[in-house]
Each structure stands twice: as structure tokens, then as C-alpha cells.
């Protein structure tokens, strides 16, 4: 009798079964696609659904409570601009969270970079492109420093960034210090959050985005199918393309209406900050899903030791995550500065960071690493911004404001949790 191994005759049994991978070759029907999606949901993989649900529910709620104002073009434009700084900050945090790290200093880094921007413009008097670049470069350098402490020295990121959270508050105070606040009157910087893309150009941009997305998705589907690779059913692709196009054109249409409250003036078009965020979203999504770097981010977040054994330079990935996070924090700071046209010594301190992390998590990013997307930041940021926006319209007392914000946040998070819990026993 010859042990565990098998003779050639035994290996090919009487009926050779199919060779596996049948899941990859199926050409799904519409019904199959829908069933597959429902199964996925039931399996606890909700993707963007909780955040989208949150947006819809909150939207309906506030529309009912403030019918005349919440759903107006003016308020929607406000909402989008209000949400951009947090979205950009959260996008950066997604990279750090993907690795299972945290960056408590991201908020104050945005403050430091704003301070640099302001002082360069006001005290030194450089031109705006240089000032903007310098602010972002400051962020990148800070990120490299943070990342080295975490990735090379190996201090837990919570402690590093807690220390920097404190330290950078001092730095901002020092830079802004003597004047109290630094007003930034530079027209281009101001325009970012306060001016709008001309209406026609807005439509053109929207069309470019929608059409190229559709073209790309369909081309990809065809090429996958033709090579008999795993591919989603066509219906799903079409539905997704149509939905995205609807959102893009819908938003553009709303923002192209004149939303001025005073009849005399003209206020229409997409605020510049919005295409900026869309651009960042596309760029970061590309980086995360289609490049080696992005793939390695997920690998390090999922299992750093496996990534190391696979020859990935884990240290470099860690450093880069913080560089990206801090650079985006700088951009977030620029947007915030643009909005107020000034920088205060406490810029980016307080709850800024917690809100941004909350946004990423509500969008679907895991704090334990390995799961997260750039779009999570956008969707989660929108949820957070809607809460503040709607509560502002309601004008409730300060204490209620705190309580309601907390409550809504909790609610948004429990949708996700309850759904995932069903699958809790299958995955750890």
C-alpha cells in the first residue's frame, strides 16, 4: 500500500470532473446579475451603499424639515463647497487608514500649510502658483518626516502623529502668531472656493467626464469578455455608467441655474473647488486600483508580513502613504483658506481630523487596514457636510447641534454595521 500519494491511474478517476473556475466564465443574465448583487449585499459586502443611503435619507429628512431651502441650487452649491476641505483631507487619510495606520496630525498639517501659504502671499509676496506649490511641498515634506518616523523608526503612528498634532499647533501659532490672523486676498486663491466655472465650460467638463467614463468602462468590459476573463455582467456596467452620467449631468444642471438671492446679480456655474475634487478623486482612484503602488498599498494593509515576503518595500509604502496624506491635507488647507480668505492660528486643530476620519469610515474604509477607496472619502465627506449644512438651516441650540451631529453619525454608521454583522461569522 503506497501512502498518501497517488498513482497516475488513481489520479484520473472514472469521470474526470470539470476543471474549475466556472465562476469566471459565466456570462451573466440580467436576473443573474441582480441576484448576484443581492447575494453580495446579503454577504455583507455593502460597498458604497451605506454612505449613499445616508446621503439620501439625510437629504430627504432635511428637505422635509426645510422644504424651501435645503434643495435649492444655492444650498446645494454651498453644500458642495462646504464639503470639499473635509473630502480632500479624508482622501488623504484613506491612504493612511488603508495601511492600518492613523494620522492624527493631518488636520493641523493642513493648518501649517495654510499658514505657509498665507505668509508667503502676504509677507513675502510671492506669486500664487509658487505659494500654492510651496504649501503642498510643505505638506509633502512633513509627510515624509512623519512617514519616516512610522515606517523607518517604527514608532506607532498614533503616538507620532499625536506628538506632531501638538507640535504643529505650536508651529502654526508661531507662523501666524504675531498678527493673530493672516488675511489672504490673493484673487486666484480666493477664487477656488468662491468663484464658479463659466456655465458652458462646466457643461463641457461634465460631458468629458461622463463620456470618457462610459467609454472606458465599456471598452474594458469588451476586452475582458473577449479574452474570457472574469468580468461583470453587461447590465451592471451599463447601469453604473448611466447612474454616473445622471449624477454628473444632474449636478451640473443644478449648478448652472442662477442661484443668486438678490435679483440684480448673477451667480451660476460649478464652483472651482468641485472639479478639483473630482480630478483628485479620479487620480487617486486610478492610483489605488490600477497601479502597482496601489496594489501594494492594499497588500501592506491586509498583511504587512506577506507583503514584505513578497518583496514589497513596506517602508517605502508607509512613507508614501503619509506623504500623500499630508500633501492632500495641504490641499485641504488651501481650500479652507480660500473659503475664509484668511488663516487663523488654530487652523485645522479641534475636531477637523476626527470629522475627516469619520468621513472615511462612514464611506466604507476600514480602520484596520486593507479596505478602502478614494470615493469613500467623497461619499462620507458628503454625509458629514450634509449634517452640518442641514443643522445650520435648522438653527438649533448649540448643545442640540452637538447631540444631533453625534446621533446622525451613529445612525449612519449602524446601517453599515448591521448589514455587515450578518456576515460577521463568516469573516473575522
Amino acid at each position: 500500500m503506497s501512502s498518501n500519494t497517488l498513482t497516475a491511474a488513481e489520479a484520473s478517476g472514472p469521470q474526470k470532473p470539470a476543471a474549475g473556475f466556472e465562476g469566471d466564465r459565466q456570462d451573466n443574465t440580467v436576473g443573474g446579475a441582480v441576484r448576484g448583487y443581492l447575494n453580495k449585499l446579503r454577504g455583507g459586502d455593502l460597498g458604497a451603499l451605506p454612505a449613499i443611503l445616508g446621503i439620501v435619507v439625510l437629504g430627504i429628512l432635511f428637505t422635509i424639515l426645510r422644504p424651501g431651502t435645503f434643495l435649492t441650487p444655492l444650498n446645494l452649491a454651498n453644500l458642495l463647497v462646504q464639503s470639499t476641505p473635509i473630502m480632500v483631507l479624508a482622501m488623504g487619510l484613506v491612504f493612511v487608514l488603508l495601511l492600518g495606520e492613523i494620522d492624527l496630525s493631518a488636520g493641523v498639517v493642513s493648518g501649517v500649510c495654510s499658514a505657509v501659504l498665507a505668509q508667503l502671499l502676504v509677507q513675502v509676496g510671492v506669486s500664487w502658483p509658487i505659494a500654492l506649490l510651496a504649501a503642498i511641498a510643505t505638506g509633502a515634506v512633513i509627510g515624509a518626516f512623519t512617514g519616516s518616523l512610522v515606517g523607518m523608526v517604527g514608532i506607532p503612528s498614533f503616538v507620532v502623529t499625536l506628538a506632531l498634532f501638538l507640535g504643529f499647533q505650536g508651529v502654526t501659532l508661531r507662523i501666524i502668531g504675531q498678527g493673530g490672523t493672516v488675511p489672504v486676498r490673493e484673487p486666484v486663491v480666493r477664487a477656488l472656493a468662491n468663484e464658479n466655472v463659466p456655465v458652458t465650460l462646466g457643461w463641457i467638463l461634465a460631458a468629458v467626464v461622463a463620456v470618457s467614463y462610459a467609454a472606458f468602462e465599456l471598452w474594458r468590459w469588451r476586452s475582458l469578455k473577449s479574452r474570457a476573463l472574469a468580468h461583470p455582467p453587461l447590465v451592471l456596467v451599463v447601469v453604473r455608467v448611466v447612474l454616473i452620467a445622471a449624477v454628473v449631468f444632474g449636478v451640473t444642471a443644478i449648478l448652472s441655474v442662477d442661484r443668486a438671492l438678490a435679483a440684480a446679480i448673477d451667480l451660476a456655474g460649478i464652483p472651482y473647488a468641485v472639479p478639483l475634487v473630482v480630478l483628485l478623486l479620479l487620480l487617486l482612484t486610478f492610483v489605488l486600483s490600477r497601479t502597482t503602488f496601489g496594489r501594494h498599498m492594499y497588500a501592506v494593509g491586509g498583511n504587512a508580513e506577506a507583503a514584505r515576503r513578497a518583496g514589497i518595500n513596506v517602508t517605502r509604502i508607509r512613507v508614501m502613504a503619509f506623504v500623500i496624506s499630508s500633501s492632500l491635507a495641504a490641499i485641504s488647507g488651501i481650500l479652507a483658506t480660500s473659503r475664509l480668505s484668511s488663516v487663523t492660528p488654530d487652523a485645522g486643530a479641534g475636531n477637523t481630523l476626527l470629522y475627516a476620519v469619520g468621513a472615511a469610515v462612514i464611506g466604507g474604509t476600514s480602520l484596520f487596514g486593507g479596505r478602502g477607496k478614494a470615493r469613500d472619502a467623497v461619499l462620507g465627506g458628503l454625509v458629514i457636510a450634509i449634517i452640518a449644512n442641514g443643522l445650520g438651516l435648522l438653527g438649533v441650540a448649540a448643545y442640540l447641534n452637538f447631540v444631533i451631529t453625534g446621533g446622525v453619525l451613529l445612525l449612519a454608521a449602524s446601517v453599515d454595521a448591521l448589514a455587515r454583522r450578518r456576515s460577521a461569522s463568516t469573516k473575522r
Binding site: 444650498n75 502668531g177 493673530g180 488675511p183 468662491n194 438651516l393
Partner: protein, 344 residues
């Protein structure tokens, strides 16, 4: 290792070293967030005055944390401070500090804010309710007799001064029945970004039908102005402020802000310095009156100073006082206005 020793002008005690001298003055400033004045004005002014008087001193900032203020106070007493001036973060924690100081034989001064139920020996201040009154009167002046919808953007809900400012303003404006309050909200931590969102939502909710804004300080005022600017309404809606910051003065020069309340901090700082120096030298200080501590049921000898309303036509006064420099205020687009008003 990290620059632990005293750092020239920025550092604290003029003489360095420990508590060997008989007299030393301690000053604890409240925070760096509610107003820029503490670090940018009070500290240098007090340092200059103390240096001139040649006394030892130690000036610190509690960074908005009452626990930290108590710690600093303990440290100062340990260091041998004999006169302790504090700007309390709230009356009760201030009172605890003063009780402890008294136990250790340290004389105390309330600076800028009266510690109700405390043990302070003296009080030096602008009247905060008066600031609110001036803001109210200023807004009324800019609005005129026309009926108007006004919005209040108050300071941090957990800051007692914010409550006083708002009370003062209400005192004045509530009495005038041509005005309707259409919105009133407090801005947590005086956060300017949040202030912008809050005002933007007030404005949207009111359908733009707001004719005046009572903003508690220049930072909040600037948030309002930037939102109004986005709606092309800047300059048409008067906004109040406080602190006479560069930004506030520029907004006033540009016509985007109605007024600010200028508290000649130099006067206040000098008054404190004089008082403290006298005490540390064992002399009897001069005071102009006293205020009543309603909670402690006592009269506190006080030096009281008057805040000043600043409108476009008396911006010059702030600059002439040296409180802000023309170089900072009259940049770029504001140069013309400065020339027009004779500021240089």
C-alpha cells in the same frame, strides 16, 4: 534637550533662574484661540512694562484648559511668585486658583475677567458687557432706523465672555423694535471655518433676507464677510466685530464690515503692570473704583478701562495708538482707503 532654557524675548522670566528673589510677578493668560490678543499683544506689552520696571516675572498661557491653568498656577507659586494675575477661563476654576494662592500668601489680580466668588485683591479690565453694548450700538448706527432682520453669530458656547458679549448686544438691540432677530447661533471654539458654514446656512435659510449681522469678533466677522462676498452681498450688510485685528480693520476700510470694538490693550496691560509692580514692591497701588462680586458678595478694588468703537472714520486711532501698523493694514487694495483717511 529641546530648547528647554529660556529663549530670550519669547521666554518668560526676565532674570532666569529660580525663585530666590523676594518678589516676582506671575501672569497666566487664558488661551490662544478665542482671540489673538493674548499672545500677540498682552504678552509683549506686559514683558516690556515689567522689564522697564526691572521686576522679575513669568508669563504663561493656559491654552484654553482650566486644568492646565491650575497646573501653571501651582508651578508659579512653587517658583516663588508673590503676585499672581490671571485671566480666568471660568470663575470657579479661577477661584480655586486664587484660594490656593491666598493660602500660600500670594496676592492675586483678576486681569480682564472678574473671578466671581474668588479671592482676588484687585481687578483690571475692560467691561465685557460694555463690549457687547458697543457692538449693538454700532450695528444700530450702521443700520439706521430702517426695519432690519439681524443675525447673531455668538462666540463659543462654553466661553463665559461670549455669553457676556451677547448679553450686552441684546440689551441694546432688543430695546429697538425695528429689528427682528432671524437667527442666532453660537460657534463652537470660535472656529472660523464652522462660523462660515453656520452663517452660510443662516443666510440660505433666511433667503438672503438678512440686513445686519452681530458677529462677536473680527474672526467670525470675516467668516460672515467671505460668505456675503460669495453671494455678492458684501458691503451691503453691516457686520460687527471685536479686537481691531488687521483683517477686521481691512474689512472696515473696504466697507465690508461696519465696525469693530477696539480695546486699547496697551492701556489695560500697562494698568496691570503698574498695579502688579506696586504690589510686588510692597506699595499701595492706585485704583479708580471698585466692582461688586455678586457671587462672592464683596467689593473688589478695580481699574476699569473703556473699550472704543471703531468705525471707518476712526480706524486711524487704532493705528496712531500703535496697536496695529499701517504697513500691515494698508497693503495692496487698502492703500487707497488709508490715504483717503489719512492713515500712514
Amino acid at each position: 534637550a529641546c530648547g528647554g532654557d529660556d529663549d530670550g524675548g519669547n521666554g518668560g522670566s526676565g532674570g532666569g533662574g529660580g525663585g530666590e528673589a523676594a518678589g516676582k510677578i506671575g501672569v497666566i493668560l487664558p488661551d490662544t484661540a478665542s482671540s489673538a490678543r493674548w499672545e500677540s499683544a498682552d504678552r509683549p506689552l506686559l514683558e516690556a512694562a515689567f522689564d522697564e520696571a526691572g521686576v522679575e516675572y513669568d508669563i504663561q498661557n493656559a491654552q484654553g484648559d482650566a486644568q492646565q491653568m491650575a497646573t501653571i498656577a501651582e508651578q508659579m507659586i512653587t517658583e516663588g511668585v508673590t503676585v499672581l494675575a490671571i485671566t480666568n477661563l471660568d470663575s470657579a476654576s479661577g477661584a480655586a486658583i486664587q484660594r490656593q494662592a491666598e493660602q500660600q500668601g500670594v496676592q492675586t489680580i483678576d486681569y480682564d475677567r472678574l473671578t466671581l466668588g474668588g479671592e482676588s485683591d484687585y481687578y483690571v479690565s475692560f467691561d465685557n458687557t460694555e463690549v457687547g453694548r458697543l457692538q449693538g450700538e454700532g450695528l444700530a448706527q450702521c443700520l439706521g432706523d430702517q426695519p432690519a432682520n439681524i443675525a447673531y453669530l455668538n462666540g463659543s458656547p462654553d466661553d463665559n465672555n461670549a455669553t457676556l458679549f451677547s448679553q450686552g448686544a441684546h440689551e441694546v438691540l432688543d430695546a429697538m423694535d425695528q429689528y427682528t432677530v432671524v437667527a442666532e447661533q453660537a460657534v463652537p471654539d470660535w472656529d472660523n471655518q464652522q462660523a462660515a458654514t453656520i452663517f452660510e446656512q443662516m443666510y440660505t435659510q433666511a433667503g438672503g433676507d438678512i440686513q445686519g449681522v452681530l458677529a462677536a469678533n473680527d474672526g467670525l466677522a470675516n467668516a460672515v464677510v467671505s460668505i456675503l462676498g460669495r453671494n455678492n452681498a458684501a458691503g451691503q450688510v453691516p457686520v460687527t466685530g471685536q479686537d481691531a485685528t488687521v483683517e477686521g480693520l481691512q474689512n472696515i476700510l473696504a466697507g465690508n464690515q461696519c465696525m469693530t470694538v477696539y480695546k486699547p490693550i496697551e492701556q489695560e496691560a500697562n494698568a496691570l503692570a503698574e498695579l502688579a509692580v506696586a504690589l510686588v514692591n510692597g506699595e499701595e497701588p492706585e485704583v479708580d473704583g471698585s466692582v461688586e462680586d455678586t457671587e462672592g458678595d464683596r467689593e473688589v478694588p478695580a481699574v476699569l478701562l473703556d473699550p472704543v468703537s471703531v468705525f471707518r472714520d476712526n480706524v486711524k486711532q487704532v493705528i496712531d495708538d500703535g496697536y496695529q501698523s499701517a504697513a500691515d493694514v494698508c497693503t495692496g487694495a487698502y492703500a487707497a482707503a488709508c490715504t483717503e483717511l489719512g492713515i500712514s
